[in-house]
């Protein structure tokens, strides 16, 4: 028995010594050559996580001294608590994602100044509005996304309407009425599919065009504003009414998947208010349809005709509490991804991102919807996204969304909806 224990002790001791030697050898050789840096990325776009991992592996191949580990949790309400937990427990990532002005304020103690990075200088005008405070840029956009009316080309052709001509509310209304009167010949159930269950489609996206006007679509400006005048509310009402009246029903029972998967992708409606992110869903349901039959037009808004709302849902932030070497490596990686020749290719072809940066020249976007977004954003025919200013705080989910839903289900007049929404905004902003 004693012998056995002794043997074991010797083995363990020898093993430990061997390990120490190996460890020493390693550290010696690395300090002799390039210094090794390990950076961690924790990001909120869970659907692209696999691609980011592949990109990180590629970067490690090109820069063997930098190793990158990527992890992700999706969704706005799931991501930020996990990030907070990681920061509080001393396991903060080097690169993390920020969703808008509220996040910028929230994580202010972590954000490094990125104004001097190549990527920040190459960013398209307007994309940095939401992440610039006191002259400092603390975020770099992932990509740009855009939304409007995604339409079914075949149905419009059959109805004899050119969708690109629908630049005003009057023209849109006339076209909608014409399509509606020919529903049975066209083989559709309704003109629109308006998902009343999905609060963000009306409140974030549609309202951005009418509420955001006052702030020129600048999220940071809106976030700081103490008051809000919802002057364009009448126009918003007529747009909601139009979509509701000519939608497949019952409107309050439709959600995102009913809108995109069950109605639009199966050709049951002529158009839906959605963005370029629905492409992959449509493709999964009907590859041919996605490839040949869909297009997107801007939502006609008075004073902003033929302009597409284009914006950024997520930004990269770099943790300023990490070592300088780590921060530099992180910035270099982001610069490489968005401004180097190979990086650009990966952004477009691997991530399917519409670039938020200049210098992409005439690359061809891989699908019909992102092509539209890219075209409008290159031509500068865009309206900014102001809604990150209000979705990141409690006004939207607490005041605007429930009030809009009350209107949509006929429980409340439009005047009350507008009055309550403005009151809710002023109350929240005065308590900040």
């Amino acid at each position: 028995m004693t012998k056995g224990w002794k043997k074991l002790g010797v083995t363990v001791l020898a093993g430990a010594m061997a390990l120490t030697l190996v460890g020493c050898g390693n550290s010696n050789s690395s300090s002799a050559s390039n210094k090794k840096v390990k950076i961690t990325i924790f990001q909120g776009k869970v659907e692209s996580n696999k691609q980011f991992k592949q990109i990180a592996a590629r970067y490690h191949k090109l820069h063997p001294n930098v190793s990158i580990s990527v992890s992700s949790v999706g969704g706005g309400t799931d991501y930020s608590p996990v990030l907070k937990t990681r920061i509080s427990s001393g396991n903060a990532p080097t690169i993390f994602s920020l969703a808008g002005p509220a996040d910028v304020k929230q994580f202010a103690s972590q954000e490094a100044d990125l104004s001097n990075t190549k990527a920040a200088k190459a960013a398209q005008s307007g994309t940095l509005n939401a992440v610039t405070t006191n002259g400092k840029t603390v975020g770099l956009p992932f990509n740009v996304e855009g939304y409007g009316f995604v339409y079914n080309k075949t149905i419009f052709k059959k109805a004899g309407i050119d969708p690109t001509s629908l630049t005003t509310m009057a023209k849109l209304t006339a076209a909608v009425k014409k399509i509606d009167s020919e529903k049975s010949e066209l083989g559709i159930k309704g003109v629109f599919a308006l998902p009343g269950k999905e609060t963000w489609i009306l409140s974030d996206h549609l309202a951005n065009l009418y509420v955001g006007q006052q702030f020129n679509g600048n999220a940071q400006k809106m976030y700081k504003s103490k008051s809000m005048s919802f002057t364009a509310n009448k126009e918003m009402k007529s747009m909601i009414d139009l979509q509701k009246q000519y939608s497949v029903g019952p409107v309050m029972q439709l959600d995102y998947s009913a809108q995109v998967n069950q109605n639009f992708s199966q050709g049951k409606v002529a158009m839906i208010q959605q963005g370029d992110w629905i492409y992959s869903t449509v493709e999964q349901i009907d590859k041919k349809f996605a490839k040949n039959d869909i297009g997107m037009i801007p939502i006609p808004v008075k004073g902003y005709e033929n302009k597409l709302p284009v914006g950024t849902s997520l930004y990269w932030g770099v943790n300023k509490n990490k070592s300088t070497a780590e921060q530099t490596a992180a910035k270099n990686f982001l610069d490489w991804l968005y401004t180097s020749k190979e990086g650009k290719k990966l952004v477009v072809n691997k991530l399917h991102f519409v670039p938020a940066y200049k210098g992409y020249g005439n690359v061809k976007m891989p699908d019909a919807l992102s092509q539209v977004v890219f075209k409008y954003s290159k031509a500068n025919k865009t309206i900014g996204w102001a809604f990150p200013a209000y979705t990141g705080t409690s006004w939207d989910p607490n005041t605007f969304q429930p009030n809009l839903q009350k209107y949509l289900s006929g429980k409340q007049s439009w005047d009350t909806t507008v009055k309550n929404s403005i009151k809710g905004w002023n109350e929240q902003q005065s308590s900040n």
Binding site: G76, T77, D78, S80, P81, K84, I87, S88, A102, Q106, F107, S109, G196, K197, T199, P250, M252, Q253, G392, T393, S394, P397, N398, Q401, P402, N403, Q405, K406, S409, K411, E427
Partner: protein
């Protein structure tokens, strides 16, 4: 004796440490944070009772509390009535009573989230289809309206939990000495009289347990709420637990959520304690 108390403490310490780390210390910190402007990372100022004042107007708390209270009243009554009825049914001697026990208990094995999604499909698709076929307008549009949303939640909760409550009642029903029942039968008591004067008082302890379980569970429900209605439409079916989670995670107001959670805890503790105290009083000993 001294030795024994040493080993007593030795065995108890790990549990006490664990309990302190995951229950007591966080609870005390939570109380402290509810007086600050904590955002999950840190706090910059002490707010005193400001969070508690905000909580009572325009934060959705009172609406959620009222909705939850109504929900609890309805489900406690329904669950106990149905649970007891099912227990009485399956304790009768007939073929297949064991099979029925399994069937009634089954929903309890499915997790609340999955159950909610299954029922969401039933309410929105099956109900609508049946309503169309039979021309009953009231069957379509469930979960899209505050009233039917409420009943949807009640139905799912009752469907899920009544089997569990039934099991508890069965255990107590089988404990009633058969001599007592037989004696009553000999004296000419009708089945209804036997139930009211013998069975009912004899299973009083089961009532205490079942009332407590249904009461505290009703207050704490979250997953069914999330998967069935997600608080919609217009926050009209948002229950307390969901309101607290939303305050913390989607509105990013962790301190206010702490305050709400503390009030929630006090309410549930007070009601449960009162309920147990009064139910205990009417238990009888043989």
């Amino acid at each position: 004796m001294k030795n024994r108390s040493l080993s007593f403490w030795l065995f108890l310490t790990p549990t006490l440490v664990a309990l302190a780390l995951v229950v007591f210390i966080p609870a005390i910190m939570g109380v402290f944070y509810s007086f600050t402007n904590w955002d999950g990372l840190g706090y910059t100022e002490m707010l005193g009772f400001k969070n508690y004042i905000t909580l009572f107007h325009n934060s959705g708390f009172l609406a959620a509390l009222w909705f939850t209270v109504r929900f609890v009243i309805v489900t406690v009554i329904l669950l106990n009535v149905i649970g007891l009825a099912l227990a009485l049914l399956v304790t009768q001697k007939f073929k297949g009573s064991n099979l029925l026990r399994t069937i009634f208990f089954m929903p309890n094995l499915i997790g609340g989230l999955i159950l909610g999604f299954i029922w969401q499909f039933i309410f929105t698709q099956a109900f609508t289809a049946i309503g169309k076929a039979l021309h009953i307008a009231g069957l379509s549009g469930w979960l899209t309206d505050a009233k039917t949303g409420f009943w949807g939640l009640v139905i799912v909760t009752v469907w899920q939990m009544s089997g569990y409550i039934m099991i508890i009642y069965i255990a107590y029903l089988q404990n009633i000495p058969s001599e007592v029942i037989e004696a009553a039968e000999m004296d000419g008591a009708s089945p209804w009289q036997r139930f009211v004067h013998i069975t009912f008082p004899m299973i009083a302890p089961a009532f205490t347990i079942c009332m407590f379980l249904t009461l505290s569970n009703g207050f704490k429900i979250y997953d069914q709420n999330l998967s069935l209605t997600n608080g919609g439409p217009y926050k009209s079916t948002e229950m307390l637990a969901m309101n607290i989670v939303n305050t913390a995670y989607s509105e990013n107001n962790f301190a206010l959520a702490e305050a709400k959670a503390l009030i929630f805890f006090l309410i549930v503790a007070a009601i449960s304690m009162l309920q147990v105290y009064y139910n205990r009083k009417r238990e009888v000993d043989l």
